[in-house]
């Protein structure tokens, strides 16, 4: 560029933590979110061991996670449809780190699993990372009924069929 940039004062990690004046603060942001009608039913369905979607008759999609409106057709969705607990791996990753970049002892297998008309995010299990491939058929492994609470974790993971 024609001119040099501003002499921005870069700090080393040590200077940042020990050398300069700083103030630390944690935000206390606590919430109780209303699940809404669609997700409320979705969670009820998960507790019952079922995956519930909403169908839009206009585009024909069965939406999971369900919503009371179709964002593509911009109209209310029409009816509840149960979706089978089987799907295909749309994509996956082998993750070796936590969110703050600490190393995991056992890698996780996050994935997008395609259901009727699109996928949901979840995790794969009972499979070696090297044996996973895009397009693989998988099925939901449900927690026992007495352990299900109405949560996406009522499905423990997805495993190859």
């Amino acid at each position: 560029m024609a001119r040099d940039p501003f002499p921005t004062r870069s700090l080393s990690d040590r200077e940042f933590h020990e050398g300069v004046v700083t103030v630390s603060h944690s935000v206390r942001a606590e919430y109780r979110w209303d699940a809404g009608e669609a997700i409320g039913r979705y969670l009820d369905g998960l507790r019952a061991g079922r995956i519930m979607g909403r169908e839009c008759r206009e585009c024909g999609r069965v939406l999971v996670p369900p919503r009371m409106f179709c964002e593509q057709c911009f109209r209310p969705t029409d009816r509840w449809v149960e979706v089978p607990g089987t799907g295909t791996v749309n994509t996956y990753s082998v993750c070796y780190v936590t969110w703050d970049l600490r190393r995991l002892t056992v890698p996780e297998l996050p994935a997008v699993i395609d259901l009727r008309s699109g996928g949901i995010m979840h995790k794969l299990g009972d499979v070696e990372p090297g044996d996973v491939h895009i397009g693989m058929s998988v099925e939901a492994v449900w927690k026992p009924a007495e352990d299900r609470q109405g949560s996406i974790l009522d499905i423990a993971y997805w495993k190859p069929v």
Partner: protein, 387 residues
């Protein structure tokens, strides 16, 4: 579409991992630099457009208002926009319509981010981008989204990791010529990238842009003002922006349709019918190396799955047929989220005026495109500049 608008000045801070400067002081440094470059004072500015991404990074609520007095906003009409990583180009679009509308003759656009404030890591702020009920219980990690998209893209088109790594190498080497860069490295190789730590396969450490603090500012002016006061105005020829669904798992991850739609909007406005032929320089958003390729395809510059070949064949190099990220991009210069996008706009300003120094692309480039992307991977923002 309204009055013609030009960029008449640009400035930036260095991009660093941690600055002593507060966010407000970073905004001021960039604003001062841009005003000096345009030989203007803050009194010459009619309105201010601020771009800054989540308040959570700097940790200051109502961050736009907080930054405003560093950004020249005192006692002026000020607007702050935020579309995640797309913000840096989006606030330039805002600057454009402020002037094109006829309401303001000279607008200062300032983009800033101070990510170093977030403890222990800015990822903590990103985590809440996942749905609080249907996704967060899985304890996801932002890297997952990128890794999942990268894998889908690679597998769909049979792309080799080495071709993607070439983009990281290109950008970090390009950034060695950028005086403000955080990670410029003239001697980095593809082997270095492929040997770097695997974080969330296929994402490795050197595929990822850094956490950064920094700010950028540009001055935009109406046609008559620009012609009167600027030796080489750089004209805004097209703008576009588009938002896709937040239900990201229901979308086709192999192709960024929202980037295509934003690009088409900008091309139509600019009268561009053959973008590959009519654009001389491109600055696509590159928070990860694969994203540059992904975006080049969305921008209609290469066919689906075809951008990696261009990387392999040197087409995207600074002296190639379509220089891509001659600045060094996010991978090389740094990624203070909103400022990174506006850095690309500033880069085009310098390149098209022949002022990019060691980074100058050869020949006489006439037209450039800058693109940014963000939110839950769903926004495309595009600007076309020309001389």
């Amino acid at each position: 579409m309204g009055r013609r608008v030009a960029v008449v000045g640009a400035g930036m801070t260095r991009f660093v991992r941690r600055s002593l400067e507060t966010g407000k002081e970073l905004a001021w440094e960039a604003a001062r630099c841009a005003l000096d470059a345009a030989e203007l004072t803050v009194d010459d500015i009619d309105a201010v457009c601020i771009g800054t991404a989540p308040d959570a990074f700097d940790g200051v609520h109502m961050k736009g208002e907080y930054l405003a007095d560093g950004a020249g906003g005192w006692n002026k009409p000020v607007i702050r926009s935020y579309v995640g990583g797309g913000t840096g180009v989006f606030c330039a679009v805002q600057g454009w319509y402020h002037v094109a509308s006829g309401m303001f003759d000279r607008v200062l656009v300032v983009a800033e981010e101070k990510m170093s404030s977030t403890m222990p890591h800015p990822q903590g702020a990103f985590l809440t981008i996942f749905d609080h009920i249907t996704e967060r219980p899985l304890e996801p990690n932002l890297l997952w989204i990128f890794a999942l998209e990268m894998n889908r893209y690679m597998t769909t088109y049979g792309i080799e990791k080495a071709d993607i790594a070439r983009v990281a190498v290109k950008n970090k080497r390009n950034a060695a010529g950028h005086p403000a860069a955080q990670l410029g490295q003239a001697d980095i190789t593809v082997e270095d990238v492929l040997a770097s730590e695997v974080l969330a396969w296929p994402v490795q450490r050197l595929d990822v842009s850094p956490v950064s603090d920094g700010a950028v500012a540009v001055v935009m002016a109406a046609e008559d003002v620009a012609n009167r006061t600027c030796d080489k105005p750089v004209w805004v020829e097209g703008v576009g922006w588009n938002l896709d669904t937040a239900y990201w798992t229901n979308r086709d991850l192999a192709y960024p349709a929202y980037v295509e739609r934003a690009a088409r909007m900008a091309y139509e406005m600019a009268g561009i019918t053959e973008p590959r032929r009519e654009i001389d320089i491109v600055e696509p958003y590159d928070p990860f190396d694969y994203k540059e390729l992904h975006h080049l395809e969305g921008l209609q510059l290469f066919g689906k799955g075809k951008a990696p070949e261009a990387a392999r064949d040197g087409v995207l190099d600074r002296d190639g047929d379509l220089p891509s990220c001659p600045s060094g991009g996010l991978l090389g210069v740094g990624n203070p989220i909103a400022a990174a996008g506006l850095m690309k706009v500033a880069e085009l300003f310098w390149q098209l005026r022949g002022e990019a120094g060691a980074r100058q692309v050869p020949g006489t480039p006439h037209r450039g495109l800058a693109q940014a992307w963000g939110d839950l991977m769903q926004v495309g923002t595009v600007i076309v500049l020309g001389r």
